[in-house]
């Protein structure tokens, strides 16, 4: 990373010097691997290539075209969007609701509830998954027991392709809402009390105070939480990996799970790298759309 010195040589030199450690680290551990895997995605690097690098062929965009032609990819994409579009808003709503509850003046033992709601987030997913598998058990699970008490037929949560993804979403919402709740609480506490008092004096009821004071004031927090939830949820992996291994009938295979399987189970590294870049483009597109929507809202 010895760049050519710009015109004001001395200044530029020392600037580069100060930047060098960070640039070296980012370059060496981020940009270089990213560039390498982009190159990888244009090859058919696989188990044969490990044996002998001469077995690598340059495929151009064939990995991508094969990917777009593969039903598995579309299933994974659909599942990922299902998870993001249902699980994302649900997580934001639940965490906002929990934040409002915990932050309400009437509630006692606030820190106790905060800790309680935050606990799932810091618990190991594997341990959580094992317990949830018992909750979801079609015959002896607590969830079906509760449904049975309400007169609803038992649901084969993890075994039925229609219910497996909702089951994963439920787990993910429960697991993640505590963290976003904390961010919302911070946001709520930053709203000046006077605004509520003024609204109250103007005759605004609880709903109007929420709609016209809390929500607008929470705007930036909401955007932030929405964004990180979306980015995180697009990378769905651990939940289906532990709970269903992507089944039944591939109904819980996400893009990252597909990438993992192609790359580390079947060692089709080139193909897996292509999946990774498609995922990157998908997230990028989602971010750009999100930004545009927000701009229009502001305008």
């Amino acid at each position: 990373m010895t760049a050519k010195a710009p015109s004001s040589a001395e200044q530029g030199g020392s600037a580069w010097l100060f930047l060098a450690p960070a640039l070296l680290l980012i370059g060496g551990f981020f940009f270089l691997p990213v560039a390498a895997s982009l190159l990888l995605s244009f090859t058919d690097f696989d188990i044969y290539a490990i044996a002998d690098p001469a077995n690598v062929r340059l495929l151009g965009l064939r990995n991508y075209s094969e990917l777009l032609a593969s039903p598995m990819f579309w299933t994974a994409l659909k599942n990922t969007f299902y998870f993001v579009l249902v699980g994302g808003p649900l997580t934001v709503a639940v965490s906002l609701g929990a934040a409002l509850l915990v932050n309400a003046r009437l509630v006692r033992f606030k820190s106790f509830f905060r800790t309680l709601y935050f606990a799932p987030f810091v618990t190991t997913l594997v341990a959580v998954a094992i317990v949830w598998r018992y909750l979801y058990h079609p015959e002896y699970g607590l969830l079906n027991y509760a449904l049975g008490a309400a007169g609803i037929d038992p649901v084969d949560w993890l075994g039925d392709p229609r219910w497996a993804m909702p089951a994963i979403i439920l787990l993910a919402v429960w697991k993640n809402f505590g963290y976003h709740m904390l961010i919302f609480i911070a946001g709520l506490q930053a709203i000046p009390e006077e605004l509520y008092e003024a609204a109250y004096l103007d005759g605004a009821g609880p709903w109007h105070r929420f709609r016209h004071v809390t929500l607008p004031m929470l705007g930036p927090t909401l955007v932030f939480v929405g964004l990180i939830t979306m980015i995180g949820f697009f990378q769905l992996f651990a939940e289906p990996y532990v709970m269903t291994q992507g089944g039944p009938l591939r109904s819980t295979t996400s893009l990252v799970l597909l990438m993992y399987e192609e790359g580390f189970r079947w060692w089709r590294m080139g193909y897996a790298a292509a999946v990774a870049f498609v995922l990157f483009l998908v997230i990028l597109a989602a971010m750009l759309i999100g930004r545009r929507v927000r701009r229009e809202e502001v305008a």
Binding site: D44, L158, G159, G247, L249
Partner: protein, 449 residues
């Protein structure tokens, strides 16, 4: 692993072992960066007083084999063995990354369906020279189908350590209620028996459990019907052929007629409990369940379960099953191959095979060990003895496991997704052709040379 107060000599050896390893790690990182020419400098001389062998073994086997090692070390004062235990779930990846990083052990346990893959990589040492000279390892002492999985062409790449295949575990009492004293021998009779069992079972209960997310069952049925799964050179799938189609229809039919529940493994939380409750009367599974059944099925039901070899599509020959299990293999990069082979021979001797069976419950690979342990006459293990004489290897291509998952996924699409069998199998063939494209390219290039 050397205790703190070790002698100077031992310390010295350890240092000598350490040094080349540091080199290897360095080499690995260099390889990853894309330049790879420092290979030649990593060869320090090791005086041959004490050789330290590195053995990698997986899961339970990795734990129990350590009990056999002290005897080996007593018999071979110049050889030390370091066993590294690796969880099964990480084993394949670990071996591959070790190969990439040039850090393979001297010898390792290796699943016998992985052998084609590691042989293609050139990671494994051909063993013919040692086997031909050996007084202990003799192919005739092993089950033929199992030995076969360890060979590619005439080259031997592994020595069977323990064996695995699939048979039927069944409830004798439920079968008796349905009017059957023993397991039928042909598909047609078997199907009738399953229907009879389903009748006495009633709604909510089934005749047989065939986990829809396991690859072995559709593979086995296909091989039984005479399908080779891939063509002889391993270039294309043959899943649309009449042989596989017949097996596929039979397999799928068991679900469509309600004889088997359309459930995967993960969806039945405790299979043993369900078996004990009689939710299903038969289950096609492997030898590890002999031990599990003895442990987990309630004592009053212990006389009511048994095992049977798989029925055949027709005629009087018994049905085939897959040849599974694990072998011991030497790595080409090992610098102590003779010592490693001595360990292979030691572990392959009849007495150690017996002892290993008692330690792990793994079925011995040597037929003489079956007789000595009484396994061959054990009524509950006897089905395995019979079945192991009729096992066939799965196609010996590195892609075999990927293809296997595609096969059961196609079956799942038909069973649970209502896709027509014809369309599913045609799509399966196309898919397998795509998977094998690289292999065809490699074969063509080799032929052109």
């Amino acid at each position: 692993m050397i205790p703190h107060g070790s002698t100077e000599g031992a310390e010295g050896t350890r240092q000598q072992v350490r040094l080349p390893r540091a080199f290897r790690v360095f080499r690995a990182s260099v390889w990853n960066l894309g330049t790879a020419t420092i290979a030649a400098c990593a060869h320090p001389d090791t005086p041959d007083q004490t050789v330290t062998l590195r053995l990698w073994a997986f899961g339970r086997e990795g734990e129990e084999v350590q009990q056999l090692i002290p005897e080996f070390e007593r018999q071979h004062p110049g050889i030390r063995v370091r066993v590294q235990q690796i969880p099964w779930i990480a084993a394949h990846e670990k071996l591959l990354t070790a190969y990439v990083g040039d850090a393979t052990p001297d010898l390792a346990q290796i699943g016998n369906t992985w052998i084609p893959e590691f042989a293609v990589l050139g990671a494994l040492q051909p063993l013919n020279a040692w086997v031909d000279r050996s007084e202990v390892v003799d192919s005739a002492a092993y089950f033929g189908g199992i030995w076969n999985t360890n060979t590619i062409g005439d080259t031997v790449f592994g020595v069977p350590w323990y064996v695995d295949t699939r048979v039927i575990f069944y409830r004798r009492d439920i079968l008796a209620r349905a009017g059957y004293r023993e397991m039928p021998r042909t598909w047609a009779e078997w199907r009738r028996a399953l229907e009879a069992v389903k009748r006495v079972q009633g709604p909510g209960r089934y005749a047989i459990f065939l986990p829809t997310n396991e690859w072995a069952q559709p593979y086995v049925f296909g091989m039984q019907a005479g399908s080779t799964l891939l063509d002889s050179a391993g270039r294309h799938g043959t899943f649309s052929d009449s042989a596989f189609r017949r097996a596929f229809d039979f397999y799928v039919g068991l679900f469509e007629s309600g004889l088997a529940p359309a459930l995967g493994n993960v969806e039945i939380a405790n299979v043993y409990q369900e078996f004990a409750r009689g939710r299903f009367a038969m289950w096609i599974t492997g030898p590890w369940n002999l031990g599990e059944f003895r442990k987990r099925i309630p004592p009053d039901l212990q006389d009511d379960w048994s095992t049977a070899p798989l029925p055949a599509p027709s005629g009087d020959s018994a049905g085939v099953s897959i040849a599974g299990g694990a072998s011991l293999a030497l790595f080409r990069a090992s610098r102590h191959k003779d010592a490693a082979w001595r360990l292979v021979e030691f572990l392959s001797a009849r007495e150690r095979q017996e002892r290993f069976y008692r330690l792990t419950g793994d079925l011995p690979a040597r037929t003489d060990a079956w007789k000595a342990t009484g396994l061959a006459d054990d009524p509950q293990a006897r089905a395995f003895w019979l079945q192991l004489h009729r096992v066939q290897p799965v196609p010996k291509v590195p892609e075999v496991e990927l293809i296997a998952t595609r096969v059961f996924e196609s079956a799942e699409q038909v069973i649970r997704g209502g896709r027509p069998a014809e369309a599913a199998l045609a799509a399966l063939d196309r898919d397998v052709d795509r998977i094998l494209e690289k292999r065809r390219w490699m074969l063509d290039r080799e032929a052109a040379r």
